[in-house]
Symmetry: C2
Subunit: 548 residues, 2 copies
Amino acid sequence: MTTKLRIVPLGGLGEIGKNMTVFEYGGDLLIIDAGIMFPENDMLGIDTIIPDYEYVKSRKDRILAVLITHGHEDHVGALPHLMRDIDAPIYATRLTVGLIEGKLRQAKLLHEVELKTFEAGDVLHFGPFMVEPFHVAHSIPDCVGFGITTPVGLVVHTGDYKFDHTPADDWPPDFAKLAEFSGRGVLALLADSTNADKPGWTPSETVVAAGFDEVFRKAQGRIIVATFASLISRIQQVADTAVRYGRKLAITGRSMRENTKIARDLGYLNIPNDLLIDVSDTVKMPPSKVAIMATGAQGEPSAVLGRLAHGRHQHLSIQAGDTVIFSAHAIPGNEEMVHRTINRLFQRGANVLYDTIAKVHVSGHASQEEMKLLINLIQPKFLVPVHGELRHLAQHAKIGRELGIPAPNIAVVENGTPLEFTADSLEILPRLPGGYVFVDGASVGDIGWPVVRDRDKLAQSGFFFAVINTSDSGQMAGKPEFITRGFVDSKGAGELFAGAEETIARVLNSSKEQRGNGLEKRIEGALSRYLYDETRRRPIVHAVLRQV
Amino acid sequence: MTTKLRIVPLGGLGEIGKNMTVFEYGGDLLIIDAGIMFPENDMLGIDTIIPDYEYVKSRKDRILAVLITHGHEDHVGALPHLMRDIDAPIYATRLTVGLIEGKLRQAKLLHEVELKTFEAGDVLHFGPFMVEPFHVAHSIPDCVGFGITTPVGLVVHTGDYKFDHTPADDWPPDFAKLAEFSGRGVLALLADSTNADKPGWTPSETVVAAGFDEVFRKAQGRIIVATFASLISRIQQVADTAVRYGRKLAITGRSMRENTKIARDLGYLNIPNDLLIDVSDTVKMPPSKVAIMATGAQGEPSAVLGRLAHGRHQHLSIQAGDTVIFSAHAIPGNEEMVHRTINRLFQRGANVLYDTIAKVHVSGHASQEEMKLLINLIQPKFLVPVHGELRHLAQHAKIGRELGIPAPNIAVVENGTPLEFTADSLEILPRLPGGYVFVDGASVGDIGWPVVRDRDKLAQSGFFFAVINTSDSGQMAGKPEFITRGFVDSKGAGELFAGAEETIARVLNSSKEQRGNGLEKRIEGALSRYLYDETRRRPIVHAVLRQV
């Protein structure tokens, strides 16, 4: 058993130390966050991705707690999976607990799991660890980072943060606590790198309030604001602006309605009852009296905005004079869908505002100058950039070096790489096997890259299936049956099929002596070559031989 | 036959009036550009997209000429298709002709097509049209727009442009010509809208020269610069910087080598012979003496940079100390692949520079202030924003209104929408059917959305194929054969297959009376339901019944 502090970020190639991080000392474990990733465009058919947490499963008897920084999907979305496999209490702030309850209820795990609430400023003790959650500003309320005092020193983990002096909930980050940590001496800082390639300071949330105000002041028709369902402070800002300009507010989209209900019940959203109306009532009202909050800011076709863009919403249809606000930034990989949705809304006559042309969104993450402030406040001995792709971590490390942290004291590592600390040393261990797990329908981890690669082949050129009857003598009996999807338009494929039949006959004629599985393989080979020559495409080809 | 001037932008939902535009008067046609689009992420398996040019095919006897603005793929890439279907001369500047020759040679069309060279400043006459090409600055040399004098007035078509006073080839745009057009009175302006949501001015190409200089001055190891194969001015800048810092230059990637050869032969690239070395020679040289130009700045896995990122290049492998420059901006839809390539290069030890963190790329398109300058220079009666998605056109139109062009004189339309002009009127006609054509392997237009939708289904969940033998009595004879790809990992699927067999047996038992095609459909339905219940996935299911 080691007496070093071990920190292991878990997950895949994407963002590092984002979805799950393990703190381990003397065999005891704390888990920070349990989130999901979204599949990239070439991870075909995959619903979500969760970290491969074999490391914690194999140490499940020694897990002291799961600590959650905030209620976003990339920090809590994997809890329904994780809590089936381990037995430990979850600790989070009040709003975050509310959001997690909804998740666990849906997964029928609510009564199996111990859910504990803490407040920023509390001091929690778990075996060798003392944990001090501290308030940070981000794009969801009740968000914390953790100061974790271990036998080898104090480690500060920021979670997602920005230094917003005027956040939407009037609760700025706890600078005093950070200064206090600094005074005690900080061994290591694990800090959010998301915007490490953005110079300057991230604008305050109040910039968005001003942006909304301008839009509401000018717009004559309906105003539809789309954002993330979890961006609760943005919902507050829209509600405030709607009150100011005498508009009623309808909240649409299942997830946004649920989050709004939880946040209102817990007092994190201050929306008067008489402000809210049902979306079906908006159609009877003068357009200038209507504001609507909607999901779909990432261009998801089945969310409210996607349905509006395609003219498929149950109650609403876009009309000339509508103003649509995208109050979100496209997540990498979603740009195309977002742009297409914007174009379709323009096509239907809406005026569409988005972050490059109007001040309707700001990031929830610190930019370079905030990162510098944090490092200078905390004065850590070691810096571990986390929360970002490798390229962001590299920029964050550069900032750290510029501020005087020696290069060997900065660890830019990939997920799965254990870091071992003593009071004055940092060692980077070899990366563990594993990484991430695909969730696809009911399958968690059964589907890997081989299946996804087959899907890619099918996505490129479809399949071509031949069912062939042969006689005793090995000749073709009757016509072969061809079944093909995603390969050719079968209307014009008569000639292609005739050639495929000839190809099969040729193989059968030249192979009278040889039977068995090898013959099917030879037919498949000949068909593949024939089909490629004719079409320059490579479908997945299967041949089934039946002697009749 | 109309005596109005008709202008029709052709193409799909993407950029408008980018790939092909038709000018028509009294039945005579001019075609401007013939380019390709790249498929979006959900156009599975499609290689490229070309405009549906049925409109010009059905008028092929009256096509006077095909005029090309510049040599980029989105303006010339469809020529090998178009020139198979029509018979008209192509007119372009000298470098553009050189690039087109390569294309036509590859398509075995070089000797079928009349290719004519003009220079900026020439005056060309085609039936009722007088065409005056004028020089513009963009990211490829020898780039023009057209002033087209028609019986109803003068129309100015910018092509792709920016107002760069200090371009890499020292040939700034022809402001005097634009002023002269203005003096004559301009009926309509068709202008590039690509960056209509970017405030300010697009920086000059010299900014990139300074950016390169800084990187070359500091770098100790090899420098690898990736950009578009057609970005010839960027190649010139890298060559100049390499000379200045005593590095040899290797040019890698087939398309970049070809374009470099054409541009050097025609005098558009000034690279001394002794600067160039073969990439295989770079491995023997001190890293500080080596610069390499490479393809793959869009993250394409099979281009040079993609192969380097994956450790699969024949001659080169990334080593610590290498500096890799992405001298390009990710085309929407490519961001994920670009970021992944950057991350992998960091993983292999390279220092990677890209446009958000270093001045290594500028856009080739005008920003808002340039658009304003153009409109104020030209003073057109009518404004037709082109070259951009609908959202860009909408911003460009807003700029036009702000500069005093009356809203009814601005036409924001989609591709396929004919505009009819008289000397003092503009009418927008109903949109024509058609739009774009998928090119997939040898197929041009045979594959449409139904096939792509099948590919999408296969990409989501693969296929499940059951070949079932039945006896005379309608019972299953032997075990059914299951063939599946992209659906489950077949290793762990034994139980699933057993259940599928039971499902089939149940249908056969309950259907003894009914035979024929309906029975296969019932089996497919039962299998689909069974597989969905078990896996929450929906593969394409086929059943083939054989009586043995």
